[in-house]
Symmetry: D2
Subunit: 292 residues, 4 copies
């Protein structure tokens, strides 16, 4: 290329000044917009999940709730393990599954917001960056963890349970090299009941800190939001008895949610689409002050 330097300068800087505009729903934002860590919604999800209902000490669990939420008096909680697959409208990301698959462990605490039952997520662990980014945008407090879940087989084998009466399924979470949660569910029967607390009533906190000096406690984004999903579909739900251990971790307060009792376990698939979230309340101090 032998353009005159002056020409290059003019052309190139005009391009950047005019702002042909960077594209992309998240960073990195680029000329064609195909490099974003998370693509633009709608986001279509399908999971295979193992869920365990349990009760935590309600006084301890209450301390994990953000402003405006009240603890459920019986300390109802649930942990969900899930193998996910994800795609956009036309992306067919599942055909190159490194872009689409991930595993998660999700804790929910039963709570109330303005007299409605909601669920709040104090901890969630995932194994792919794309999912971490989509999660942060929805207010899921994601960080990395390693999740394993038993898979069933329709073939009789000592290597796999049946998805049916007597089938035993394990699920585990490890965080930064340490085993953190161990769960087991033995399926007994089909049920119409979904595990509770449920994602369907999730209230999250979208939070993005500021780093400017003096503003470390004054986040750029601090919003109480209601999750929204559409086109929700559930498979047959299997239920049975469950066991659950939450182990101490030196850099997580997760053992404060250790089960005081363990309820039912569930195995099921569900699918849904996300392209919205509802702002319930701006929790920033400055806003609160000016609003008052």
């Amino acid at each position: 290329m032998n353009l005159e330097p002056g020409n290059i300068d003019t052309t190139a800087s005009r391009i950047s000044m005019i702002g042909v505009m960077l594209k992309g729903y998240t960073t990195p934002r680029t000329p064609r917009g195909i490099s974003s860590l998370a693509p633009a919604p709608p986001w279509h999800y399908v999971s295979t999940s193992l869920a365990i209902e349990f009760a935590a000490d309600p006084v301890k669990a209450a301390r994990f709730l953000p402003q405006s939420l009240e603890i459920d008096p019986d300390g109802r909680c649930a942990v969900y393990f899930a193998e996910w697959q994800f795609a956009t409208d036309e992306g067919e990301e599942y055909l190159d599954p490194v872009r689409s698959q991930y595993k998660e462990a999700i804790f929910l605490i039963g709570a109330r917001y303005r007299d409605e039952q909601v669920a709040y997520c104090p901890f969630i662990f995932v194994d792919q960056d794309v999912s971490l980014m989509r999660g942060l945008i929805q207010g899921w407090p994601k960080q990395f963890g390693t999740v394993w879940m038993t898979r069933p087989s329709i073939l009789p084998s000592k290597a796999a349970p049946v998805e049916g009466p007597g089938g035993r399924f394990g699920a585990t979470l490890s965080v930064r090299d340490r085993r953190t949660v161990e769960a087991q569910v033995t399926l007994r029967s089909v049920t119409d009941r979904r595990p509770s607390p449920t994602f369907a009533r999730g209230v999250n906190v979208r939070y993005f800190p500021d780093l400017a000096a003096g503003k470390h406690d004054d986040p750029s984004v601090h919003e109480l939001v209601q999750l929204k999903s559409r086109d929700v579909r559930f498979s047959t739900i299997w239920t049975g008895e469950a066991a659950l251990k939450i182990l101490d971790h030196p850099h997580l307060e997760i053992a404060d949610l250790a089960p005081t009792s363990v309820g039912a376990g569930y195995r099921f698939s569900f699918a849904f689409t996300v392209d919205d979230v509802v702002l319930l309340k701006d929790l920033r101090r400055s806003v609160a002050v000016s609003a008052t």
Copy 2:
């Protein structure tokens, strides 16, 4: 502990001398035998597999065969991608799935051994050490690779194909940071045909080198073996058209098996048990000489 040193010495060395015996099917062999990388057979396996039949250049493919095998004249090959779950008789390893699950990509070349059709594996890639060890013992030339496979859902979703007509499945292999194989199968119909070449007729080479000076080309173990499995069970087999790319890799000769044509694709589960292998021929030079 305040035993006299002399006593300790006596006791301890007697123990080691008597050889209460180390236990374990593989190293590490230990007092209780529960630490072995691979536990003792029988080994029960169940997989979900995506397989693609293809033809390679038969002259190039022939060069990958060990002594005593002849290439199939039409260069028939197959690549299998599989998500596995494994257990021993009483181990229930699938309940702590980090011990039980792994993914693989397996290449098979159609060949003949003494006028019988067999299959030979030139390359196999896996993501767990336990499986690598069990594989070496059976003569599978395992090394590490990263495998991803599309999962179907019974729920309608843009995030997953159906396991049925029109369902599209991808599978990929990466080896040492480089994408190496990309495959895609579109299901069309159920079939009674199993992909070919097939594991059922696998002939492997068990190989364990010597390191003593002067013996680097004189392996301690060099055996042509016939794989054996029992209690083999197949699920319904779906088939349809396939696409397959084998990409160049600077440290693998795998692109020498690049498809000259691509045949059918298959999706199915199968389960089986392994606790035997049949020695066909000792390939060590010293043995060969003495046998002549």
Copy 3:
């Protein structure tokens, strides 16, 4: 625990209402504040780095710049590979290094902002979630990638280069299973020159999208910021000739920055502390409008 339900309810909900306050610089925010993915600043960093200066097509490179930046007419760029260690003031995270170590590959484009030379980062890849989160807060467009870098030895060995004349160092980046960048530097001499463009003049875009319906193009945070660091220290800087390949990637526009020429390579360590960032301009449309 046998408290009356009523008591629990009152106590617990009072706790949550009073808002004993969740703590933590980032999510998850918790009662004791020790569970946050990224701890509160200051953040102390030390790296070992390999950097390569190169020129990209300035027209193509210009398209990666955000509003307000103009491309450097000669398309000056650099890629830095780094092995990092991180700690907070009292955290001594490096003693449990899974919390502290990570590797990165960082691209910088030379640019101008209001007649000052600056550097803009179009792509950055990292292998730990904690670093990804700290990065997003500073406007680094981080996503996951796998980085490898040669290490030198002071012992003569065919297994390692010397950090001195003739020492050859490699560095590689892989993203989502695909080799993306390959670099090599042969050290020749010590220099006072630091690679350019340089982190010291980094201008980033802090960006956090909204997900509410109708606001997907209306980010919650969209700020042009000037990076700030303090207590910056450099080791001896080695320099020499370099080679660099940027390979096509189907989901990254990184090959648009492929080198048209490759300049010098560098190897050095540097350390610094971050606890501030300077807002240059709020890029949100709504703000721009109201500010006009």
Copy 4:
């Protein structure tokens, strides 16, 4: 390609019959021999190591020893953590470091063989398949584990210790999702002493099982061997006080080697070359019988 089938058959099968010969020191053995998981020796290694001397219960430790070894009466043991880099004579594998770098945690028990002091390795953990394979061939009972080690910096920073008096270094091992070993060393002074037991006197067991029915307890290879290395070089050795925890693991007997007392810690580099091993004794039953 339109050759006649008959021609292909003849040509190709002649090639395989003549046996142009598969090449490669380990599987996979291929036409050009460049695909082997482990390349042919000599193998050049260089490491940065953190070692901790400790005493285990000698009665328990004795039970880990193979036939012919006697426990050291004082139960002397050591654990070594190491970051390795590897290359062959001409391979320069360190320039594509995914092929060359790996991390390990190695346990040694002090023992006697025919009145000579030796060291026996009951457990060793590594994070790369290539190293696992080279290890098995030398009799190292390798399996996968995740190792992290603090790195020093010559720059003053809260993010790194100095390699000098007062410098504190951590090292950790996790195996199959569970933290298994935590160690810490505070450097105090330079020493001429190398940690003990030492690799230099390593006695290993080369072991490769048979899988043929009836032969599961009758290994194909079962050899007591003396490790050999040449061109061994040590850096300056730093020493100081150490802390060490070995945690319970459900699938490892490693906690049977828990320290009854912890001795000195060491930090150093060493380099060496391996292309030999010395057979001390064939431990196979059949051989023992026939030899008697």
